[in-house]
């Protein structure tokens, strides 16, 4: 084939050939969740300069739902309720991982570089790429908004995009997709997904390969003080075969204990809305 013809064909190729991308470890392993369900907790404080706190939480829940509406993927984003946890990363000193927190840092309390508006961190096993924890931090020194009027940095738009990152999706090269990098101020089109985003989640988490291991034991209000916390059963164990059976037993035991607690704290979470 002549080179100009080849070039022309390349130009005419549909974009999906280099569309959605999966985030990888340093040595190129794709990162992903092994669970059917990923539970997220929203810090109860919400954005300090947004009076419509309920509207903000509803917008975030709508972002979860947007991803959950994809029928060709088994992955489910679960609203775990509210939390007063303010730490990201390894969320508490007892080294319980897997508490995925979405948090607005208070004005003047942003712990990172001052010019950063939003930051998503992902904790994973570098040997396997399995995600253990992910947190979204938003800087309250910048103005966010919900709803269709006076749109600033739209909460639902931003969170839907960031949630894509928390499940292992990198930025897409498709301009129309939710996972495209750029978003003009006031943009709301990323509230919904485009075919490229759907291709991404379905490729990584195809419905036909559902592991059916949805662990909802840490749903409900989770307190930063261990004394009043409900349960934190989604542990991350280093990948050694000898530990695997123990972690399963531990998970089952904690899950059993948490059923009752989860209901109680779930009620608290609902009440506090």
């Amino acid at each position: 084939m002549r080179q100009p013809t080849l070039l022309l064909l390349l130009l005419l190729l549909p974009q999906p050939l280099w569309a959605f991308l999966q985030t990888t470890t340093d040595d190129g392993k794709p990162i992903y969740w092994t669970n059917e369900c990923v539970v997220y907790h929203i810090n109860e404080l919400g954005p300090p300069d947004l009076a419509d706190k309920e509207g903000t939480f509803a917008a975030i829940r709508q972002s979860f739902q947007t991803w959950n509406n994809v029928t060709c993927s088994y992955l489910r984003m679960v609203d775990g309720g509210l939390t007063d946890i303010t730490k990201s990363g390894d969320n508490d000193s007892s080294r319980n991982l897997g508490i995925n927190v979405l948090i607005w840092r208070e004005k003047g309390a942003w712990p990172h570089q001052k010019k950063v508006i939003a930051l998503t961190s992902i904790l994973f096993n570098p040997d396997t790429g399995v995600i253990a924890d992910t947190d979204i931090e938003l800087n309250s020194d910048f103005s966010f908004s919900v709803g269709d009027e006076n749109v600033k940095i739209d909460v639902q738009n931003t969170v839907t995009h960031e949630l894509g990152h928390t499940i292992g999706l990198d930025h897409s090269t498709v301009i129309e997709s939710t996972m495209f990098a750029s978003a003009p101020l006031g943009e709301i089109k990323k509230r919904t997904l485009e075919s490229d985003d759907i291709d991404g989640i379905c490729q990584i988490y195809p419905i036909a390969q559902n592991p059916n291991n949805c662990d909802l034991s840490n749903v409900g209000f989770i307190s930063a003080t261990r004394g009043t916390s409900s349960c934190i059963a989604t542990r991350y164990d280093p990948p050694t075969d000898s530990r695997a059976p123990r972690s399963i037993v531990l998970l089952l035991v904690i899950s059993g204990v948490c059923i009752g607690l989860g209901k109680r704290h779930g009620r608290r979470a609902t009440d506090s809305l």
């Binding site: 340093d26 390894d90 712990p111 990172h112 010019k115 939003a118 897409s172």
Partner: protein, 192 residues
Amino acid sequence: MRRTLTAWLTLAVLFSTAPAEATIVLQLSDATLARDADAIVHGRVVSKSAAWHTTTRRIYTTYQIEALQFVKSPTISTQRPRTLAVRVLGGTVGHYGMRVAGTTRMSVGDEVVLFLERVRGEWMVLGMSQGKFEVYRDAKTNTRWVRARRTGLTLATRDKSGRLMYTHAKPRPDRRFDAFLQQIRNHLKAKR
């Protein structure tokens, strides 16, 4: 000639939309970097180590930077330290890896120009990866150049009314090292 042109065009088509990641940060010009930095150091990475931060429970990688020269002396001290510890979010500790898009990554031996800010008593790179410039030598001409890599960032800029607009971080052309430093010094003089 035609074949070379075709090859370059093909490459341009393939790589014209490079992937990036999730951190949203204000876009900083050289002048803003110079103005807002608490220190600007030209140095070399002599060591790096990752550890859990005891209070924030995050993994940070600490780079020890041997200062070859200060373009802007640390504003917190009258003394010019020989080394600076620069802390970057993310890294690998045992079976845990933490990834935050847009953070600076360096290797031991790298020669860099870093625009640093002081955050809660620690040196951090200003504007995430925007504040790091790699220094490399062109073997043919024996000249030094600086290269900016702003991968992993979604940049936000303000329009005339102060509203934020997001934009994809575009690659910046490499610049001659001496000219770059002089430009930074000019920005610093203009600031005064």
